[in-house]
């Protein structure tokens, strides 16, 4: 049985904004699923619909087989990090978590354990207003972990974390999945989650563009040809004229469509000097751009 099961989920804000448009997906137990898309794609709205903070305009979503509101002591089943600023600035970190624990019927003993888990034990007595952005993010993660839940829903958990913090988060999420827990984690920084997730959901402009195991999706994606040339602009024109999708940054091109041999031939026929030509398996970012590009063309 899927841990999270969304069917034809839609959310409209006012008459003009369709934030989520007929999105259906499922999250399997024991996996880390990346919920990926640019800012404003509808990720946060979808996650908030899962935990009943935002009411869907259409469709339904079930978590652990029920609507979130029908779960008994829901925060002991589903932990959610949705808003790192959701703490009273005058409370200490420990008291902020005690308030959450008290409301959820969770023992205060779990507060110290959760703070230690996110390495905030030393700052437990400090007021939240003195926390850095990264510390607030860790505190929000601790709040999600308080009930020792089997499902974690994390909205942009790496926001505000430094590189060390991001690495820590990656290890942390993998450890949770290794314990058999299910994690749904959203991010707009694709490289950030690429090494962490098993499955991905790609959303853009409220529509779900792709879902499945990351290994499968990247395997079926077109490889990317990386080119470096002092005449990169000219080569870009030549390749674009042949229908290739080209991204240029300085003297480097990422080309999707033609194989490397064809790119080399185009360069040679146009008298373009190449300094580098290689084929790469597509990254998550390449995959996302391909999928989003395909949908745009369609």
């Amino acid at each position: 049985m899927a841990v999270i099961d969304a069917e034809h989920l839609s959310k409209r804000f006012g008459k003009k904004v369709l934030a989520v448009d007929d999105v259906s997906f499922s999250v399997e137990p024991g996996t880390i699923t990346g919920f990926l898309g640019p800012n404003g794609a509808g990720k946060t709205t979808t996650l908030r619909m899962i935990v009943d903070l935002v009411r869907p305009s259409g469709g339904a979503v079930r978590v652990l087989g029920s609507r979130y509101r029908d779960l008994t002591r829901p925060t002991t089943r589903v932990g959610a990090l949705l808003d790192a600023s959701g703490f009273h600035p005058g409370r200490s970190g420990a008291n902020a978590l005690r308030v959450v624990a008290a409301g959820a019927g969770i023992s205060y003993d779990r507060v110290d354990a959760a703070l230690e888990m996110v390495e905030l034990g030393g700052a437990a007595r400090r007021a939240v207003k003195g926390y850095s952005t990264g510390m607030k993010q860790r505190l929000a993660l601790a709040a999600a972990l308080l009930g020792d839940p089997e499902v974690l829903i994390l909205d942009e958990p790496a926001n505000g974390l430094d590189p060390e913090g991001i690495r820590w988060l990656r290890i942390f999420l993998k450890a949770r999945a290794a314990e058999g827990r299910t994690v749904l984690v959203s991010s707009h920084v694709l490289a950030e989650v690429e090494q962490t997730v098993d499955d991905i959901l790609i959303i853009s402009k409220g529509k779900l563009l792709a879902q499945g195991p990351i290994s499968e999706l990247t395997r079926t994606a077109q490889p990317v040809v990386r080119v470096r040339s002092p005449q990169a602009e000219k080569l870009e024109e030549l390749l674009t004229a042949r229908g290739a999708a080209v991204n240029r940054l300085g003297d480097a091109l990422a080309v999707r469509g033609p194989a490397s041999a064809e790119v080399g031939e185009v360069a040679q026929s146009g008298g373009v000097v190449l300094h580098e030509l290689l084929t790469e398996q597509p990254s998550l970012e390449d995959l996302f751009l391909q999928i989003a590009g395909t949908r745009k063309e369609a």
């Binding site: 804000f13 709205t45 949705l82 009273h88 600035p89 005058g90 308030v99 008290a102 409301g103 019927g105």
Partner: protein
């Protein structure tokens, strides 16, 4: 419900808002009482009269607990803590009920302490000015009880208003303008309508405020005022819950 109750009590204990409210309530009670004792010519008033004046400052306590009630609910939205509150208790009506009960009790407690403080100052201070401070009789105790109950009702009303309007500054400012300016004007020019307006109804639980003869001026009896007060709180609370169940927490 017990978990929610624990959480609300911890919320009150873990910030300075409740402490600030307590200090403000103590100040508005103590300062007028001390000034009265300091400037009271010896032997000019009797003990009962002095007690009435000493406890007059407690009427300001009702406005303090009103604002406290509003802050209790709007603070959840202002600081974003409502997200965790609703994650733990997705049934939003329960959150409202517990907040109403807890804040009503705190409002009662604040008024009780204010009245105790005023009486304490009377017991200690008035003999210095040659006025004996008599022990409260049945009528005085009944009046205190009404003030305590009304403070609880007004605090709960503040919570309900906060849940309805959510925006902290707008709700506090709007409510105080209504209570201190708009209602008194309506009462002055249209007393029959004014008698039914919320803050005037609350004050009628304590006394008959419209002229010397409340009934003749279209006022309410105390039991009526009490029931209408409960009606106001219930109506605003039900409306707030109804709307909050449809509101998105974004």
């Amino acid at each position: 419900m017990i978990a929610l109750l624990r959480a609300e009590l911890l919320k009150l204990r873990s910030t300075r808002t409740a402490l600030g409210m307590g200090i403000a309530a103590a100040l508005v009670t103590v300062l007028p009482a001390i000034l009265l004792i300091a400037f009271l010519p010896k032997g000019t008033i009797g003990g009962d009269e002095a007690r009435t004046i000493l406890t007059a400052g407690s009427s300001l306590v009702t406005y303090i607990v009103l604002v406290f009630g509003i802050l209790g609910m709007t603070g959840e939205y202002r600081h974003g803590t409502i997200t965790y509150t609703y994650l733990a208790t997705p049934r939003r009506g329960r959150v409202m009920v517990v907040k109403l009960v807890v804040y009503a009790l705190v409002g009662c407690l604040a008024m009780l302490l204010a009245l105790l403080l005023a009486n304490l100052i009377g017991v200690i201070g008035l003999p210095i000015r040659g006025v004996s401070f008599p022990a409260p009789d049945g009528a005085a105790l009944a009046d205190y009880a009404r003030q305590i109950v009304t403070a609880g009702l007004i605090t709960a009303f503040g919570v309900a208003l906060g849940a309805l309007f959510r925006a902290q500054v707008v709700t506090v400012a709007g409510t105080l303008i209504w209570a201190l300016m708009v209602e008194p004007l309506i009462v002055a020019f249209k007393p029959h309508i004014g008698a039914w307006l919320p803050f005037n109804v609350f004050s009628q639980v304590i006394s008959l405020p419209i002229g010397a003869d409340g009934d003749a001026a279209g006022g309410l009896s105390r039991p009526e005022a009490f029931l209408v007060s409960i009606g106001y709180i219930a109506a605003v609370s039900v409306l707030a819950v109804f709307i909050s169940m449809r509101r998105d927490v974004t």
